[in-house]
Amino acid sequence: MAKRLDIKDLNLFYGKFHAVENVSLAVPPKNVTAFIGPSGCGKSTVLRSLNRMHEVAPGARVEGKVLLDGEDIYASTVDPVEVRRTIGMVFQRPNPFPTMSIRDNVVAGLKLAGMKNKRELDEVAERSLRGANLWNEVKDRLDRPGGGLSGGQQQRLCIARAIAVQPDVLLMDEPCSALDPISTLAIEDLITELKKEYTIVIVTHNMQQAARVSDQTAFFNLLGVGQPGQLIEVDDTEKIFSNPGQKATEDYISGRFG
């Protein structure tokens, strides 16, 4: 439960393209870390490298270390499938499995892990849906397909699906970018709740969102087109938004570019 992540000298590549350069960063447990920065700066790529999703793309390559409570998830003995079972992910666009019912969507990860007991699965489904603030809205239609929910509900369903396996870390890749303001608010409240139990890393384009939900903010930037993205600075969110250490951070936050 709620482990810490340490990223050390991480370099990420897509084929020959050097996408992200020398990122080192610590993500404390039970804490929300936000990644902000302009489009193409590599913040999503870094996020995807934290549960070994980066390597799914053809030609993608990783150098450096990502330590989960001191264990390198890129060690040669580690099975990427196991990593993804302990580090959950929520995507930009809600992606519940359209042919599965709401209940089956929530417990999909557990079923993959081999849990079969129906009563246990039902319990987890209820707990996870309550955890994702969705239970009251869907408890009467757990057998209906997940695709029938609204966008915001679908995203909370995906969060329920991700927390059903009780991951050590929860990664969120712009989880609100496809949602309306009210659904966004619901998700942000949820993130604040989830922080009590989970380590959370969130990528967001919305700086107010980063300021609202995160404890720590990492600012990524790229020096030019074709150059690798870099981590400019990481600090307490309050400090980043009031008194950043770097000029580039201040320019970005005050809206001078990006």
């Binding site: 053809p58 196991e82 993804r84 959950g88 995507f91 992606n95 499995f97 042919t99």
Partner: protein, 354 residues
């Protein structure tokens, strides 16, 4: 309320002189006041550009043409078949007899043709479906990209082999090769009706078994190609969703690719079945004809609708005899229609995927 009006205006009507495409966009913002300027123009019909009219005519014409063509074929078959059906001395649907040599005493029934046609097609489908599924999954999920493309071309190439070549291959190569295996099946599993000793010489290989395998190879490319296309379109976000939950490759396939591609796979198979039902030359060359009735064995011979008609084609000298074959063709025509209708309804029933 503004939006629909604004959107409608450039497309709908307006000043014919100014509406040369360029003017449409700039006028949109002033949409709230359309009623007054439009009132005098309303008496004229909206201006349609000649290009639009021509293209619309061509497209509609093509659509109407294909429907008319199918209707005409059906009509031709019915008109030609009816007189012979009237002269038929046995039941057309339930008789196994086929004797059209004496036009004055026509005795023809399609039961055996129907059964042989269906059995060959089903055998072909049972063999081709799992293989095609495997190939499609391999090409879209497992094969390295630089291998997948040439491999897919090879499969497509299989569809370009003329059916006469498949027939010769079946008769001269596959038949003899299958003989020991067929013999073994007959000896050891002969108590199961489908493996019973058939009504033709199994050593020559002209059996439903051989024909079924050859037709399976022939319909493999179409099933594979369509299935592959469908599997390739599985939304990345669902695949990634499964991977992020810790799904292995096979679990990703099972939770996302297969549910997404199921309808496409079924309709691809039905397309293959349609081809199998109508396959003529290869089956005609391979299948040994026999006067004995079809006995539900894979090692029977016989004829399908298509092969029967093709074999008799040189002797269509009397319209009454020819009509008997045309009636058989009509049944094949209807059968293919039914298969396609079933395929459509299966596909339509799976629309809930997004």
């Amino acid at each position: 309320m503004n939006d629909p009006v604004a959107a409608k205006r450039p497309a709908g009507s307006g000043d014919p002189g100014a509406a040369r495409g360029v003017a449409a966009a700039p006028t949109a913002p002033e949409a709230p006041i359309p009623p007054t300027p439009e009132a005098p123009v309303a008496t004229k019909t909206p201006h349609v550009r000649p290009g639009d009219r021509i293209f619309r005519g061509l497209a509609t014409g093509s659509g109407v043409f294909i429907v008319a063509l199918i209707g005409a074929i059906g009509l031709f078959l019915i008109i030609q078949a009816i007189p012979s059906l009237g002269l038929n001395n046995v039941n057309f649907l339930t008789s196994r007899e086929w004797n059209t040599t004496d036009p004055a005493n026509l005795r023809f029934g399609i039961l055996d043709l129907l059964l042989v046609t269906i059995v060959i097609s089903v055998v072909a489908l049972l063999i081709a479906m799992p293989i095609a599924l495997g190939i499609a999954l391999f090409l879209t999920q497992y094969a390295p990209r630089n291998l997948a493309r040439p491999f897919a071309y090879v499969i497509d190439l299989l569809a370009a082999v003329p059916s006469i070549v498949f027939g010769l291959w079946g008769l001269f190569v596959l038949g003899p090769v299958l003989f020991p295996f067929s013999e073994w099946l007959i000896e050891n599993l002969g108590w199961i009706p489908i493996f019973a000793k058939g009504n033709v010489n199994v050593q020559l290989g002209g059996t439903i078994f051989t024909a079924g395998i050859v037709v399976a190879v022939m319909i493999l490319p179409i099933i594979t190609a369509v299935t592959r296309e469908v599997f390739e379109r599985t939304p990345t976000m669902h695949i990634e969703g499964a991977i992020a939950l810790g799904a292995t490759k096979w679990e990703v396939v099972r939770t996302t690719v297969l549910p997404f591609g199921k309808a496409g796979y079924v309709s691809a198979s039905m397309l293959g079945l349609g081809r199998a039902l109508g396959e003529t030359i290869a089956v005609m060359i391979i299948l040994s004809t026999t006067s004995a009735a079809f006995g539900w064995s894979l090692f029977d011979g016989g004829a399908t609708f298509a092969s029967k008609i093709a074999l008799a084609a040189p002797e269509f000298n009397d319209p009454r005899s020819a009509g008997a074959y045309i009636a058989a063709g009509l049944v094949l025509f209807v059968l293919t229609f039914v298969v396609n209708a079933i395929a459509r309804s299966i596909v339509a029933g799976h629309k809930e995927y997004e």
